[in-house]
């Protein structure tokens, strides 16, 4: 009786373990099944290198969106990484304990705030701000980069801080004993030792910035044309899907799913980079 129960449970456990694998396979299957034929029908070159997106004329070129995603992500990294990594160093090595008790919950709250709320904030504060400071209509690559930079801060801060705290105290003390100041010890001994952890924080940040949808839709302007300057509006891959999926049909719909496939491949590549970094750290 007990043997039988054990055997049944073993099977149940095995099946649940496979759910995760089945889910990944299903996601790949359904995206590729609808996306790849569309790419073939449009023509891979005209799809990936086409600069015009006019669904009403059956012209589907997603180069503007690919570039849009890249620009916005790069901007987010430029904004988020320096502030995030320095804040992590501050929290791990400089922050007075009383302030830490405020800063730490603040960062975890920032991590939990939904992206729509960030979008509202961006729309009402950052868009008018860039409009008044730099001209243009405010919805631009710059605004989207600023907002995404803010959104990836908590990810970068918490992962970098954990890796900074994992550096053995003896590194820091050794450097102090050699006559270096507190700041020099932190930046010359502790930070280099935590380098791979900080790098994987950056890669996680990239993943979040590429995949972010709602907040970007609300501040980036969403014009499907090649961006010509940081103050111009831009449409990302994610925005393209969420904006048009509601009314798309036939080839248009499949082209949007193909956009999803491109996004998926982007994310797989960053994941690969992330796991390579993680493996590098273990050795």
């Amino acid at each position: 009786m007990v043997k039988k129960k054990e055997a049944i449970m073993h099977v149940v456990i095995l099946i649940s373990t496979c759910v995760c694998i089945v889910a990944v396979l299903l996601i790949c299957l359904f995206l590729l099944m609808s996306g790849v034929p569309a790419i073939a029908k449009i023509g891979p070159f005209r799809f990936f290198a086409g600069t015009v997106w006019r669904p009403d004329h059956e012209i589907f070129g997603i180069l503007p969106m690919i570039l849009g995603s890249l620009y916005v992500t790069a901007g987010a990294i430029l904004v988020g990484v320096p502030i995030g990594v320095l804040t992590a160093i501050y929290m791990a090595r400089f922050c007075p304990p009383a302030l830490y008790r405020i800063l730490h919950p603040a960062v975890s709250l920032l991590a939990g705030i939904p992206s729509v709320v960030y979008g509202f904030f961006g729309l009402m504060v950052l868009v008018p701000l860039t409009r008044n400071l730099f001209g243009g209509n405010g919805s631009s690559i710059l605004t989207a980069s600023l907002l995404l930079g803010i959104m990836i801060l908590p990810t970068i801060i918490s992962v970098s801080e954990a890796s900074l705290r994992a550096v053995p105290q003896s590194y820091y003390e050794g450097s102090l004993a050699m006559g270096a100041t507190h700041e020099e010890s932190v930046f010359r001994a502790v930070v280099p030792a935590a380098k791979s952890g900080i790098l994987s924080a950056v890669v996680l940040g990239i993943g979040r910035a590429v995949g972010e949808t709602m907040a970007v839709v609300m501040v980036a302007g969403n014009q499907a044309r090649l961006p010509t300057g940081v103050l111009r509006g831009v449409r990302t891959l994610t925005a393209n899907i969420v904006l048009e999926m509601g009314y798309a049909a036939d080839l248009h719909r499949e082209a949007l799913i193909a956009t999803g496939v491109v996004l998926f491949v982007f994310i797989l590549l960053t994941n690969l980079l992330f796991s390579l970094l993680k493996r590098g750290r273990k050795e």
Binding site: T17, V19, C20, L31, T181, G207, M245, G246
Partner: protein, 285 residues
């Protein structure tokens, strides 16, 4: 004194000062962003929080967020119902059942890592293609819940796995020594001991569900009413807020919804930190 301040050490003192200013500035910028964001949302949203917003039926006049709140709760419960058992069982397999060098463990690890990196809009696309279209469930709470269930599965798996690994082996040995079988040992001894860790994973998952928009728009739909059953469409709070933005008529109600969302996140974070403290004390209340 004069002899000691050689040009080199003065230079390095300058560098140290610069570095210190930089890190302080970064810390203050982060804190400043936090205060701006929270302050702005509260300032704009709190005045618009009225009883009207919580009336049980949505009309275009009161723009009630109550149905959305109910949908959020339903969606959270149902997604957890789907993902938590599967997540815990897979973690149990990975930690307690799998033998060293097992191929399946490696494959599951890669699958979970892939799942955790997929952006929510791609989950939304998949949910639309599979649950809504292929299984013909239509825009419905159940399609949304299944989509979110897959999305939070890796999160629950990983936190449970960590929690199970931190249970000392003496627990297992003691249980085996008393004559308990594998099943009894795992589910009566090891899993209960790992409960706080599992709970913190579940709370993280709740946070993700509450804030999710992109995965739900094309799976659960955007109907602003309390649905009749799991097979009808309904919007959660975050989707409600996005819908208010895209309609553009009731931005003030959007702020109020934002405040409710932020309050929910604060509650979730408090619960998480309480549990973290509980774990920190070695699991003794």
């Amino acid at each position: 004194m004069k002899a000691m301040t050689s040009p080199k050490s003065r230079g390095s003192y300058g560098l140290s000062l610069l570095l210190r200013i930089l890190v302080w500035a970064a810390g203050m910028i982060t804190l400043g962003i936090f205060c701006c964001l929270l302050g702005y949302m509260l300032m704009k949203g709190l005045p618009h929080l009225s009883w009207d917003l919580f009336s049980p039926i949505y009309t275009s006049e009161n723009v009630s967020l109550f149905p959305a709140l109910i949908n959020t709760v339903t969606m959270t419960l149902f997604s957890l119902l789907l993902a938590v058992p599967v997540g815990i069982l897979s973690a149990v397999y990975l930690v307690e059942y799998a033998k060293r060098g097992n191929k399946l463990v490696k494959v599951v690890g890669i699958a979970a890592e892939t799942l955790s990196g997929i952006p929510s809009i791609v989950y939304g696309l998949f949910g639309m293609l599979f649950f809504v279209t292929t299984l013909k469930w239509g825009y419905s709470l159940i399609a949304g819940a299944f989509t979110l269930g897959i999305m939070i599965l890796p999160l629950i798996m990983r936190t449970t796995e960590e929690a199970l690994r931190s249970v000392p082996d003496s627990y297992r040995e003691g249980s085996f020594g008393l004559g308990a079988g594998k099943l009894r040992t795992v589910f009566r001894i090891v899993v209960p001991a790992a409960m706080p860790g599992i709970a913190s994973g579940v709370i993280l998952a709740i946070g993700r569900i509450v804030g999710e928009t992109a995965a739900l728009i094309y799976t659960a739909g955007t109907v602003a009413a309390i649905p009749e059953g799991m097979f009808s469409s309904g919007r959660t709070l975050a989707v409600h807020m996005y819908a208010l933005y895209s309609e553009g008529l009731h931005m003030d109600k959007g702020y109020a919804t934002g405040v409710v969302l932020i309050l929910l996140v604060v509650l979730i974070n408090c619960a998480a930190s309480l549990i973290a403290k509980f774990i920190g004390r070695g699991g003794r209340a």
